[in-house]
Amino acid sequence: MRRLRLGSIPLYIAVAISGIYVLLPLLSAGEFSLRQPATHNYGLEHYNWFIENPDFVHYLWLSLGLALGAAAILLVLLVPTAIWLNLGGSNVRGLVEFLTLLPLVIPVVALAIGAQTSLPEFAQTNEFVLSFMYAILAMPYAYRTLDTGLKAVPLKTITEAARGLGAGWLRTIVLVVTPVVRSTVLSALFMTLALSLGEFTLTSLLHWDTFTTWVTTMSQSNILGAIALSVFSLVGVFVLLMLIGLFVKPASNQVSLEEE
């Protein structure tokens, strides 16, 4: 019935335009990456080029490792804090919210130029410093995701119920808290992975090479290969971010920063 309403026409037009706007660049880039200028045919030449390139696997693993490192750091750091705050443990909630939002206020370039000169020697010579920096950059998003997810469950009530029924703390954490927070933690994890995998600014300003900076370097010698790589990594990140959608309830399925 609602389909026939005249009032919905602008909506359909808007959705159609948006759909074209979103898909056109993606599909065009996909088409472009399959072109083979030498033979005027379509083929997987450019994809084969990077798959056969040993650097591809090397940098992909490096980026994945760094992203996993960032996610691990962030979860170890934020999950206990977020659970503690949602158990009503303290009146520092406002302070934690403020702190975790700060990286959003500071341009990444400014943080990078500071990190370049101020981090201790051992951190500057080890690429895993990037995991720590990525964790800072992903913190506002990861904390929001965790906090919104945890607010949606009556964490305090169920832990008290478990304790009241005689479960010890360990039992409560393993059997009650963990299953309840799992989906929230997973979505914070994917969020951090996605942001870290695509990070370019800090990485290039700190003079490290990861997957994204390698793609940029490659583009100078093989632009078609770089485009194929970009399509590959965009699709990869899209899939990763879409996975978040599977884990998060619709109401909190967004990276917006408003208070509940």
Binding site: L11, A29, I73, W84, V96, Q116, G198, T212, P250
Partner: protein, 301 residues
């Protein structure tokens, strides 16, 4: 909140040591790691930027670097970056707001969810792959360019190129419009049908409702979203770097050049002063954004 202090004392006024140690333990485990981590990897680098920006090349206190910021070419770079932020916020916030309005007011539940998840994916698509995707699509030989030509639209009939100011604004809309939809939708969603009905039953027309109730309610959220878009375009680095290859003077790119050492040694702390300039501009946009969002959230629930 402050009543918690009272609970540390039992009736006779002696501290309840159990509760106190519990709280202390909570603070140590819950807050201290975060503080330590942020101090090392966030506050310390930023503090370093701040103080070395006030040093000349010999480590003496000086305002010299800040004097440079207001000289060419850096002044132009700031003007360009702020201009880019503003223009890109205008070009993304208006279509984004219209889209958010149509979807929130007329879309079904399924459509709303689809748009929300697609938007959150696109809003996080920035950087180098996005730049290359647009080069492939809308470059001179790009597939989308050729496709549009078939439809009779030649985007290169004027002096448009992707590697220009307009080109960068165009690319930014790809993640900024979705960002606008995400941030602005809750504001429209928050305008309750009951309010419209109440206004109607008190004799207000549709126009009057929007003029006196609707718009004043969503206006702060619009400004907040606008500021967020401004800050994101103002400080974006990766896409601009990959697209312009240094042909457009933007502050983040200039800082990048200074960091890469493509400059004279006597300018080593100039980058820090430029970075502080960026921090100030960005904070001027982001802090009001966060404050407005917080306040608006009270009635959006």
């Amino acid at each position: 909140m402050s009543r918690i202090e009272v609970t540390h004392l039992d009736r006779k006024g002696t501290p309840n040591w159990g509760a106190l140690t519990g709280r202390l333990l909570g603070l140590i485990l819950g807050l201290a790691p975060l503080l330590v981590f942020m101090s090392v990897f966030f506050f310390w680098p930023l503090w370093n930027v701040l103080w070395t920006s006030f040093q000349d090349n010999y480590g003496k206190f000086s305002f010299e670097n800040y004097g440079e910021v207001f000289q060419e070419p850096y002044l132009t770079a700031f003007k360009n970056s702020i201009g880019l932020g503003l223009i890109s916020a205008v070009t993304s916030s208006i279509p984004g707001a219209i889209l958010a309005y149509l979807i929130e007011s007329r879309g079904g539940e399924r459509l709303r969810r689809l748009v929300a998840s697609v938007s959150s994916v696109l809003a996080n698509t920035g950087g180098v792959p996005l730049a290359f995707m647009f080069i492939a699509a809308f470059g001179m030989e790009g597939s989308a360019t050729l496709f549009l030509k078939l439809l009779g639209i030649n985007i290169y009939s004027g002096d448009f190129t992707l590697f220009s100011f307009a080109g960068i604004v165009f690319v930014y809309t790809y993640f900024q419009i979705p960002m606008m939809v995400i941030v602005f939708s809750p504001a429209i969603h928050g305008i309750r049908n009951e309010w419209q009905e109440a206004a109607r039953s008190l004799g207000a027309s549709r126009l009057q409702f929007w003029k006196n109730i609707g718009l004043p309610l969503i206006f702060p959220s619009f400004i907040a979203a606008f500021l967020l878009l401004f800050a994101s375009a103002f400080s974006a680095f990766a896409t601009a770097r990959a697209m312009s290859s240094g042909t457009i003077a933007l502050v983040p790119l200039m800082i990048g050049n200074l960091v890469d050492g493509n400059v004279l040694a006597e300018q080593m702390n100039l980058g820090k002063a430029l970075a502080m300039g960026m921090v100030i501009v960005s904070a001027l946009a982001m802090i009001p954004y966060l404050v407005i969002q917080r306040r608006a959230a009270r009635w959006q629930k």
